[in-house]
Symmetry: C2
Subunit: 339 residues, 2 copies
């Protein structure tokens, strides 16, 4: 960490004047260094040609540090992944902070370093940014917005209207790790579990999958807030097809499942930050799964169900003991500020 | 306003589940309607070719409603203008909300309608978005992030390293209206003044100016937080040239000047949201000014100074009575949360 001549963030750091400059020049620009950011204009100039995906997310997770990560890498991975789910390789990101007066500079720095490392891993550049400061009690330590653009893979064609009955539903890894990692912290269960958030970028694996399977991948989405149940309900609503899941195929880590039981949570509704759902042509489903499972982060990937031409607009689950139940939308808020 | 089945924003509206859907489907998607947003994916797919500008800003202004506008149009105009200052015509915007639990839905709706109208005026499309909700007391009504991309005008070439001694410094209109409009509200002076924020888009006028003057426009920046003094100090620091202003040429409305005096503020440091500074080739300065003044929003435009090969890295002002003083960076925070 460089030597800052202040210990906490003050309102003046959001003034746009000398203190803002001092904050940025003390190390922020250095740590995020690249040719475009170095221009220090209010915007960046880029070259990009073709079909572009664009995405935005604000991150308000509490607490900002959690097992397996912090709000900084979450903010990079989250937007990188939203673009990946559009079939795109994230390329340029913007980064905007809303800091609460009093935030220790050491915490800000730790988050910034995570941002840098996550951006490096994902292969994206942060090209422009913004820093605002609000009074103590009008924010909560730090909120981060990242927005990004990237080129859509030439073979990708992701759209909910491409989903057909018979398509297979694939999940890339075990559910609910992120939500349970946060929830354990909040409920003070951290001493009992070693559950970590699954925050990771998904852009490298999805690019590989598009290379191999192209338009046979009909749809992709990362089940963040609201979990797998919410993503599939959204898709069911849009396509008016039925989505039939097989509970015994859905991967959940043992510790996570135990924590879910203890907390009375259904893992289907719990947030994830490092897995995706793919809905694919049944002809390539096994090959897709095979490729996915070859990668160390996705060894638990599984085919968890299929799209059917009944139960229109609904998600159903075949339970372990054979019954079927409707999996509804999350009706309230299970875990506020999970991302 | 459509019929919402709730009066205030609750944490559940940020769940990503049923309530989030209900909020968005009750009218948000309708009011912002366009082909790309209608996809309701986590990202949007666009076509764009060439040199692109990208920008982001979070808006945390307090109060969110103020004379002349609200946080919604500010958020659209602000990012549109940042792109305009890069020489670009804004085309696609993302929109991300951080709502505080308890925000009246009527206020949210009013802001949303302003966003729609400002986007329409500026000719930009909101292509994707995000909605988060934080607990009461962890935010302040509503924070808005907009990020945007646009095509750089083929003739534009804006860069601080293009500024040369002899260049003229032009301002597009009277200073300090936005900051004083907000400050008057906070200090309870609203009954005494009719000062309104100058929030407006600048992209149409700048496109016209790039059509006419192209690369003879060396630099452009909108003096928002920190005002004209901060922008010029930043530029002075980057170019290591001198920036000599002539106080009697700098337009300030009479009421604004009066309010500044009453509040003990120097208008050079007060925020603006609808003017820009252009640094141009002296050969075209008068024509540039003539074109600018033809437009009703820019009739007070003026040449306020020039770039000199002395006072390196500094901004100086020739006062009305002839003396010269250094115009420093704003050292503290004059008006927190002005944008």
């Amino acid at each position: 960490m460089p030597k800052f001549d202040f210990d906490i963030i003050t309102l003046g750091h959001g003034s746009g004047g000398l203190l803002t400059q001092r904050l940025l020049q003390s190390g922020v620009f250095d740590v995020l260094k690249n040719d475009m950011l170095d221009q220090q204009h209010d915007g960046a100039i880029l070259e990009l040609n073709g079909k572009i995906a664009m995405s935005t997310d604000s991150y308000v997770i509490s607490p900002v540090f959690f097992p397996g990560g912090n709000i900084g890498e979450l903010a990079i991975n989250g937007t990188v992944n939203d673009l990946a789910m559009c079939g795109a390789q994230a390329k340029y990101l913007t980064l905007a902070f809303i800091l609460e007066e009093g935030l220790p500079i050491t915490e800000f720095w730790e988050i910034l370093v995570s941002i840098k490392e996550a951006a490096l891993k994902a292969g994206v550049q942060i090209v422009t940014g913004d820093t605002k400061v609000v009074e103590k009690g009008k924010g909560d330590k730090i909120f981060v917005n990242t927005s990004g653009i990237g080129l859509v893979h030439p073979k990708a064609n992701i759209h909910h209207n491409r989903i057909k009955p018979g398509d297979k539903i694939i999940i890339s890894g075990p559910m609910a790790a992120h939500g349970i990692a946060i929830m354990s912290l909040r409920k003070g269960l951290e001493f009992e579990t070693t559950i970590e958030s699954d925050t990771r970028n998904l852009n490298h694996i999805t690019q590989q999958l598009f290379d191999l399977f192209g338009a046979n991948i009909h749809f992709m989405r990362d089940p963040t807030r609201g979990g797998v149940a919410s993503v599939l309900n959204e898709v069911a609503g849009m396509t008016q097809l039925g989505y039939l899941l097989d509970q015994k195929q859905i991967p959940v880590d043992e510790q996570v499942e135990g924590a879910c039981e203890m907390l009375g949570l259904d893992p289907l509704y719990v947030a994830n930050e490092g897995i995706f759902i793919a809905i694919v042509n049944p002809l390539i489903a096994e090959s897709f799964l095979y490729q996915l499972k070859k990668e160390k982060d996705f060894t638990s990937a599984a085919i968890i169900g299929e799209v059917v031409d009944e139960h229109h607009g609904k998600v159903l689950m075949k339970s372990r003991i054979g019954g079927r139940r409707v999996v509804n939308y999350l009706t309230g808020e299970q875990l506020p500020r999970i991302c």
